[in-house]
Amino acid sequence: MCLAIPMKVVQINGNTAQVEQGGLTRSARIDFLPGVRLGDYVLVHAGIAIEQVRPEEAEETLRLIRAIIDEVR
């Protein structure tokens, strides 16, 4: 139900964007993401883009995971 995969914005027409992932393109409303730009990754749920994926945060999360693993046990 809460399924939303990160998809890349490839076209913007007013309040609708074309988003693409793994060769699949679909349209999504972007009314809730006023600052979104081409090339951004967004989470799309039920035809609406609900949030942008923040790349620097993604990096930070991976870094934290590696840090835990490297901790002396």
């Binding site: 139900m1 809460c2 399924l3 939303a4 995969i5 990160p6 890349k8 992932q21 793994g22 409303r29 009314d31 809730f32 993401l33 006023p34 990754y41 989470l43 749920h45 039920a46 035809g47 609406i48 609900i50 949030e51 994926v53 923040r54 790349p55 945060e57 993604a58 930070e60 999360t61 991976l62 934290l64 995971i65 590696r66 835990i68 693993i69 901790e71 046990r73």
Partner: protein, 362 residues
């Protein structure tokens, strides 16, 4: 897939699990309240990676599962009228009502259409002015903004034949109710990922503060879930009860204000009945009076009386985390995905469907 594959690294997962094993020095019961988490945990075999001391229980995270039977009956009742088209998300199709389900209704001649987005239902209404299109508004805070947008869209184009039967529910009030339930022992919440993109992590602060339960918002890949569990274990061991965000690439403290505002324009909070949990105050949404014209419940003469639930069905206890699917006497025998007795087996995200698919010994 970008922002997905990186978080599926099996080797890192194994190592994270080892750290959890070391740090979980006392038994902990952690509850997740998101159907997608339920599925992900089952699919990735997370439980098999965890030590015995860390027990994962599945709470009422599947909106399909917690929709009361009476609501399904009402939606079915609407569909029995010849000029009505029912539009719904696919996972509602086989959920049992008192004596029918949408699939059976469709076979019997009702016009039932599966849609991916509520905006598709608005389109159907626009294309069929002689029909009344009723959309079944089932879902948590992730979905409500889409439905609100659809209603505003219908209003903008002046449709008079589009309706929503609103069964939306809110997660934090349910978490509060469970935290306060003496029967249920929770040492930490794995909070939903995408609900939180909308409502923000601040929404869980009352639960953490007033009930002293650690909350971590998790993503959906194996590394996300394991990291979140690790964060919860650390909080428990340290004696903290805070709200932390594991899924920081998508969730902020404030969430998405535009989406929240849209929902507030169209809906107001109301008490709601959760299957298995009873009525939880302030845990649901209903259309505001300004949007009554789109409210499908106006069309129906009365609230149906509480219907009789199948006696063998233990979905209620499973939703509270008091029983696991294999504890249910009907699991795998009278109740299977092909012949479900209750919603936990029907919905693809239900605890029973997940276990049946991924863990049942063959």
């Amino acid at each position: 897939m970008r922002y997905v594959d990186e978080f599926r690294d099996g080797i890192l997962a194994g190592e994270l699990a080892e750290h959890i094993r070391q740090e979980a020095v006392r038994p902990l019961q952690l509850m997740e309240v998101c159907g997608t988490h339920t599925m992900a945990i089952a699919r990735c075999g997370i439980r098999s990676l965890l030590p015995k001391s860390v027990r994962l229980i599945s709470g009422p995270g599947c909106p399909v599962c917690v929709t009361p039977q009476s609501q399904i009956d009402r939606f079915i009742e609407l569909g029995r009228c010849p000029d009505v088209v029912l539009a719904t998300f696919g996972d509602m199709i086989r959920v049992p009502g008192t004596d029918s389900n949408l699939e059976a209704e469709r076979a019997g001649g009702a016009d039932v259409r599966v849609v991916y987005s509520p905006l598709d239902a608005v389109a159907i209404a626009g294309e069929n002015p002689d029909k009344r299109v009723v959309f079944f508004g089932v879902g948590f805070e992730t979905t409500a903004p889409a439905v609100a947008l659809a209603i505003l869209e219908a209003q903008r184009i002046g449709l008079t034949n589009f309706y929503v039967l609103c069964a939306h529910k809110l997660i934090p009030p349910a978490m509060t109710a469970l935290a306060g339930d003496p029967e249920v022992a929770i040492d930490g919440f794995i909070c939903p990922g995408h609900v939180s993109t909308i409502i923000g992590s601040a929404a869980y602060e009352p639960v953490a503060r007033e009930h002293g339960i650690p909350c971590v918002i998790a993503g959906f890949e194996p590394l996300d879930i394991l990291q979140a569990i690790h964060m919860l274990v650390r909080q428990a061991v340290d004696g903290r009860s805070e709200v932390e965000v594991q899924y920081s690439r998508a969730v902020s403290r404030d969430g998405n204000p535009a989406a929240v505002e849209c929902v507030r324009t169209v809906f107001e909070t109301a008490d709601a009945e959760w299957r298995g949990l009873g009525t939880i105050p302030g845990s649901g949404l209903r259309l505001r009076t300004d949007f009554r014209a789109f409210d499908a419940s106006r069309l129906l003469p009365e609230d149906s009386a509480a219907p009789l639930e199948n006696e063998a069905c233990e979905c209620g206890l499973i939703l509270k985390g008091l029983k696991s699917p294999s504890d249910c006497g009907a699991f795998g025998t009278a109740c299977t995905p092909e012949h479900p007795l209750g919603p936990c087996m029907v919905s693809s995200e239900g605890a029973c469907a997940a276990e049946h698919r991924y863990s049942r010994p063959t």
